[in-house]
Amino acid sequence: MEKTGVYVCHCGTNIAGVVNVEEVRDWAAENLKDNGVIIARDYKFMCSSLGQELIEKDIKELGLTRVVVAACSPHLHEATFRKACANAGLNPYLCELVSIREQASWVHTDKAAATQKSKAIVAGGVRRVEYHEPLEPLHVPINPATLVVGGGIAGIQAALEIADAGFPVYLVEREPSIGGHMAQFDKTFPTLDCSACILTPKMVQAGSHKNITLLTWSEVTKVEGYVGSFQVKVNKKARFVIESLCTGCGICWEKCPKKVVDDVFEAGMGERKAVYTPFPQAVPKYPVIDAPNCTYFMKGTCKACEKFCPTGAIDFNQKDEEINLEVGNVILATGWDPFDARRITQYGYGRLPNVYTSLEFERLSNAAGPTGGNIILRDGKSIPKVVGIVHCVGSRDKNYNEYCSSICCMQSLKFAHLVHEKTGAEVYNFYIDIRTPAKGYEEFYHRLLEEGTHFIRGKVAEITDAVRLPGEEGKTIIQVEDTLTGTQLRVPVDMAILSVGLEPRHDSKETAKLFGISCSADGWLIERHPKLDPISTMTEGIYIAGCVQGPKDIPASVVQGAAASARVLGKIQQKEIAIEPIRATINEEQCSGCRICNGLCPFNAIAYIDDLEVSRVNAALCQGCGTCVAACPAGAISGTGFSNQQILSQIEGLLMLGYSKEAVPTP
């Protein structure tokens, strides 16, 4: 018989406030004797070093062979208690952590029922742990190469950190150039330094780094494997430009006769050619030919770029190329999409000429943008005299996105300042709440107040060109209730800027699926822990950085990029890591060779051995889901850590007690 110790945690009052831990302890000591419990204790914080020492001491002195800790979720402290067991010389996998906090004290108010349930949970753990086996973690080597997906500021930062530490990085970017949204911006808040001035040196660094392989105009199409050894397929789209020959001289796009509205980089405000780099400082410098818009691809004639290219770098026959990469870790930094302001029809975007989105304004204000940085209305000549900036467009709104996009307040303040500075116009900010919670942000807000920007607290109801009052002719009118004075206002402006919120990439769900991680209902990828581990995911070896995890500003994105790379570097430095030994194994004596399991495995980890007429599991490919275990008609497959005996015993334990103290279920 095993000698089992039961340890019930108070977690301060988190558990003890609802569950009577002493009663659980006494019940386990008394009623689970026949199941091997020789000691049951409670302690204020089992996870503290004193709590752990308690377990270690009992293992040594009482010769415990099994440990059950009733505390929080195994996702929080399983590793802690396993380590404590290992310290005392007990195989760490002989410990079971059962959750009476997340599953009892925190979710139930009826103290008696929660206590009763906790006893049942402890009984389930005690019965289960009896069938635990001593296991050794599997050791897998870590491939030192890293894949970074997304070449915005977060991805660039992550790639540079890893590359500077001396390890190879593949930086994959969907667009022709790295830089991301930050490359589109004019100034950055709150310091107002120019976005390109601080970003482009980093882009160049990433583009020329000996440890970084840049794969732009490329997308990841397949990911297989696990931490330490991922096999990734990347589709490098045809550029129709031979990179080794191209010097980036720009003659091709000078000569290209086809103009196309640039919806991506210029946010529809400007034009580019059919062969183009999105912006002058693009990295890499090689252009791409936009095949769907290229005259040659449409009509079969033109080839102006080819004729004029001094190095013969144009190749119309180029095909998409599939690149196979082997990497040990992955950082996802795929960023965000702007909220589509057309969805709020009453704001008139797309219908009223003088309504702009924030990204459009960035391009308008950018010295490298379509107007050379002059704030001119769509008619091409008028300079606005009154400008209204609408906050929270598509954010903090149950009809669109409930969350706060976190950057729009500061972005709007920045716009207000730029408009003021460049045109001297009167600026109105229409806000719900002003949120300026980072370093230097509140000071910037005060600066704007001093500059004379008007702040009107109220959610804009409508933006219209329907004139109702004198003085509104030819104006764009913003209808709003000033909630501080309780008055309805109609503010006629020349230009309305919608500070649109941040949304997950339109294909973020597919990204999550591709990399085998989860994303929230909104579409933001889910971190391992919202506070303590915001850059890891539930899948080992896959990290997230920047806005792919949720809306954030540039400093926060950079921090996450750097943090994710630190995590990856830690993994690389370990050279090999231990992974959970949860794997399926087939008892070949029992296997009838029916091959039912073969087809069930999504990882092709089960192969049929012809000569022996049995199936066999490849432990390196097996991920431990246990589907084959459940399906084997001969019961020949066993799942380590989740064997039939373990689960069936846990069920028995959980059902040892009825709902209330008196009731005992009758089998």
Binding site: S99, A512, A521, M538, L600, G626, A631, F642, P665, P667
Partner: protein, 152 residues
């Protein structure tokens, strides 16, 4: 029965989505009926139908099977296999004379603590309405074939 009947329900959760939804419900202090006792599996695909029979045999009044949303499985597609088995197993349970409402399949993501909580409460009420599992009475041979749900 003088008191209200309090059913005991065994809930199977998957390590990646629904167990974490339960964790999330806890962290957010959402409240649900204490009638449900959870078991963690790595994947809903691990769910051996035997586990469900075992739960009923040992006195559970209902069994909740949970997993990741279709398409979200950590192991690519094993929740579809759980789905197939679930419906097959439900037919067997019906043939054994059990009310099909005693088993429930629920997909929840790690972010859906609120849905997890609400569905547990609803299921507890549904099982409460059925009354205690009366295996012997329920095991009266079914003469009529029950119309089967066709899924997947």
């Amino acid at each position: 029965m003088t008191e209200t009947f309090e059913p005991i329900i065994i809930g199977f959760t998957c390590n990646w989505c629904s167990y974490r939804a339960a964790d999330m419900a806890g962290i957010a202090r959402m409240k649900y009926a204490p009638n449900v006792r959870l078991i963690r599996l790595m994947c809903s695909g691990r769910l051996d139908p035997t586990f469900i029979f075992k739960a009923f045999a040992n006195g559970a009044d209902g069994v909740l099977v949970t997993g990741c949303h279709p398409g979200d499985c950590h192991y690519i597609e094993q929740n579809y296999k759980a789905l197939r088995r679930f419906h097959l197993m439900k037919r067997v349970l019906v043939q054994m004379g059990l009310e099909p409402q005693r088993v429930k399949l629920l997909w929840t993501s790690a972010a859906e603590g609120a849905i997890f909580t609400a569905e547990i409460n609803r299921f507890v009420e549904e099982v409460r309405a059925l009354g205690p599992l009366n295996w012997n009475a329920a095991a009266i041979p079914v003469v009529e074939t029950t119309p089967m749900e066709v899924t997947v």
